[in-house]
């Protein structure tokens, strides 16, 4: 029976139509869920946060997982994207008349973040490892500090009253785009360059890889999608301030990446989903709701002692889970492994199907 299932599964994965069909179904659902209220508003909101976190984790994985650096700047890129997009929709673009301009604002946020990503790539030519980590940390603090000191954009008070333009279809769209582009990047000569830099930078340079160019591209792509996520985030939360994008935000994204697994898109999707959903599920109201079917005799004492205090303790449980995952899977749940469906067919086959007549004439 399992063998049969396995065969079907293998067959399914080999189909060219699989991913397009899944994406199409996803889009239909993304439109249908808010339209017909298939899920309640709260679950819809959580879904959108899951999506935004997937974009953040997948893009950070490019630098921290595939390239093996330890960037702490991701929340900074996110801030740049969020502020750019929010200022555009509030002060520049006539959004009220043309709500269709929203994706342009988000895109502009991504591009602004990518530009700053270029700037962070420059130190990475010279500095590696722990020291680069500190430069990215310094960069994050500088971004935060600059925003705090510009009155025009609200300074430390931030920007309230941003329009709620982020919708489930838009989040889904950008999730698909980010996964697709990061995957395309990884399975190209530049992506292999990124991997070789992680393994041995000097050897990589000596195998003709233009390491500077590769680093530029990796940082740019990574920060671009952080900016996109920032734009979406701003128009979902409807309020941004420098404090939203501090080191704690970066830590959240780091946890998603390393929990899910380094150098794995599947891992980042898994990590972002698990982390976001777990934090929500562990809310007292959610747990109470989930367990409300229990008889009062059991439910009431549970609620009395456990569920009511869960709000605080869930933040204690999550880091403990993270430490446990690290102890048992030091590279994260999916570390260095990938769901077959994400690997381009050409790449998969190249590893076991010989495309050329066998020669083997070595003495």
């Amino acid at each position: 029976m399992t063998a049969l299932l396995r065969n079907h599964w293998d067959w399914l994965l080999e189909q060219r139509w699989l991913l397009p069909v899944l994406v199409a179904i996803g889009f239909i659902l993304a439109f249908a869920i808010p339209e017909y209220n298939l899920l309640n508003k709260y679950v819809q909101l959580v879904l959108m946060y899951v999506g935004i976190n997937i974009i953040l984790a997948v893009s950070l994985n490019l630098v921290n997982g595939y390239m093996g650096e330890f960037s702490l700047a991701h929340a900074g890129f996110m801030a740049v994207g969020a502020y750019t997009a929010a200022l555009l929709t509030m002060k520049v673009l006539p959004i009220a008349a043309y709500p269709g301009l929203f994706p342009l604002a988000v895109l502009a946020g991504g591009l602004a973040a990518a530009l700053l990503g270029l700037l962070v790539a420059i130190p990475s030519f010279k500095v590696r490892g722990d020291y680069l980590a500190i430069i990215t940390l310094a960069f994050l603090m500088i971004v935060k500090s600059v925003i705090e000191n510009i009155d025009f954009i609200g300074g430390p008070r931030g920007i309230p009253g941003i329009k709620k333009l982020t919708t489930l279809p838009w989040v889904f769209f950008w999730v698909v785009v980010s996964i697709w582009m990061v995957r395309n990047f990884v399975y190209s000569k530049y992506g292999r360059g990124v991997l070789s830099i992680r393994e041995d930078e000097i050897a990589s340079d000596l195998m003709s890889v233009n390491t500077r160019r590769v680093k530029f591209l990796a940082f740019m792509t990574s920060s671009f999608f952080a900016g996109i996520a920032g734009g979406l985030f701003a128009h979902l939360l409807q309020f941004i301030s420098p404090r939203v994008f501090d080191i704690i935000k970066t830590t959240d994204i780091l946890i998603m990446v390393y929990l899910g697994g380094i150098a794995s898109i599947t891992g980042s999707i898994l990590g972002a989903t698990l982390y976001t959903v777990m934090l929500e599920v562990l809310r007292p109201s959610t747990v109470a709701g989930l367990l409300s079917w229990l008889p009062d005799m059991v439910f009431n004492p549970l609620n009395e002692y456990f569920i009511r205090h869960l709000g605080v303790w869930r933040m204690v449980i999550m880091p403990l889970l993270l430490v446990l995952v690290m102890l048992y899977w030091p590279r994260g749940i999916m570390g260095l492994r990938e769901f077959r469906g994400f690997i381009p067919r050409r790449d998969r086959e190249a590893h076991h199907v010989l495309k050329i007549p066998k020669s083997g004439e070595m003495p």
């Binding site: 010279k126 940390l137 830590t251 430490v323």
Partner: protein, 295 residues
């Protein structure tokens, strides 16, 4: 004395106070890095726990200053050893980054665990009678004197331990070479535990003094102070004990001076820009040695 000089002396005094606290914490980062090449991101939170131990000893047990300080140091030292044994030791041969993430996890755990038990900021009762002297316009408080002298004293003791005792020699040996030193009969695990105990103990001392100087404490106080101390360690050359002290006083000085000349909101901007610049110019810190990779 002229107003200018008075002002400067006052600022230098403030810088020394801030720098001493950074230095005590920075030492823990740098010692652990030296011996395990691992950034112990939970260290700032050990400092925070130190402040809370101080609070508990002072309020629940009603102890005076000296026993409070001693208990806090012992408590955090024990905490440091336990963290290392439970969370870091199993990862010693794992990829370096898993240990860093674990450290972040331990830090978050400590913060949130404290938050769960102490949801509101706590006030530390004044453990010492604070006398302020007026030295020709410069005001010097007894608290400042105690913080600076005690910190310097602890640093001198540490420097002596690391450079002049067998334990210190073993520490330096392990940080120098991790392959062969264990073969020389040096008990590596014990030395690592001692390193963590000393580092965490110093952070506990820093927590106590910080709590005395700024008596409102909360579970998130360790994050920013921890990062700043970490930066001090890097500025001085991470892994280098004297470098960490120098780096801490530089950072303390820069921060105080920036606040003296600019609006205080510029403090982080200037401090971190300088840090970035320094790392670009001298990536291995002020006292660190450049590491060349053999090809």
């Amino acid at each position: 004395m002229s107003d200018g000089i008075v002002y400067w002396l006052q600022q230098i005094l403030n810088a020394l106070q801030l720098g001493s606290i950074y230095a005590l914490i920075a030492l823990g980062y740098t010692m652990v890095y030296g011996i395990l090449t691992m950034i112990n991101f939970a260290h700032g939170d050990v400092f925070m726990i130190g402040a809370f131990f101080c609070f508990m000893a002072a309020t629940m047990l009603g102890l005076p200053f000296a026993p409070t300080l001693l208990l806090t140091i012992l408590g955090t030292a024990l905490l440091g050893v336990v963290i290392e044994r439970l969370a870091y030791k199993p990862l010693r041969n794992a990829p370096r980054v898993s240990a860093i993430i674990t450290a972040l996890g331990v830090g978050l755990f400590l913060e949130n665990f404290t938050l769960a038990l102490a949801p509101y900021p706590k006030h530390i009762p004044p453990l010492l009678e604070n006398v302020t002297w007026d030295l020709g316009g410069v005001s010097l408080s007894s608290l400042q004197v105690i913080i600076i002298c005690l910190s310097l004293g602890l640093m001198i003791v540490l420097d002596y331990v690391v450079h002049r005792t067998p334990v210190g020699m073993a520490m330096r040996a392990i940080s120098w070479d991790k392959t062969f030193v264990p073969l020389m009969g040096i008990p590596v695990n014990l030395i690592i535990s001692i390193t963590f105990a000393i580092g965490a103990g110093l952070a506990g001392a820093a927590g106590t003094m910080y709590a005395l100087a700024y008596p409102v404490i909360d579970p998130y106080m360790g994050i920013m102070v921890g990062w700043k101390a970490f930066i001090s360690a890097v500025v001085g050359g991470i892994g280098n004990i004297r470098g960490a002290m120098i780096g801490a006083f530089i950072l303390g000085g820069v921060e105080i001076m920036v606040t003296a000349f600019f609006p205080s909101t510029y403090r982080d901007f200037v401090a971190f820009s300088l840090l970035m610049l320094l790392i670009m110019i001298r990536p291995y810190g002020i006292l660190g040695q450049p590491r060349t990779q053999k090809v």
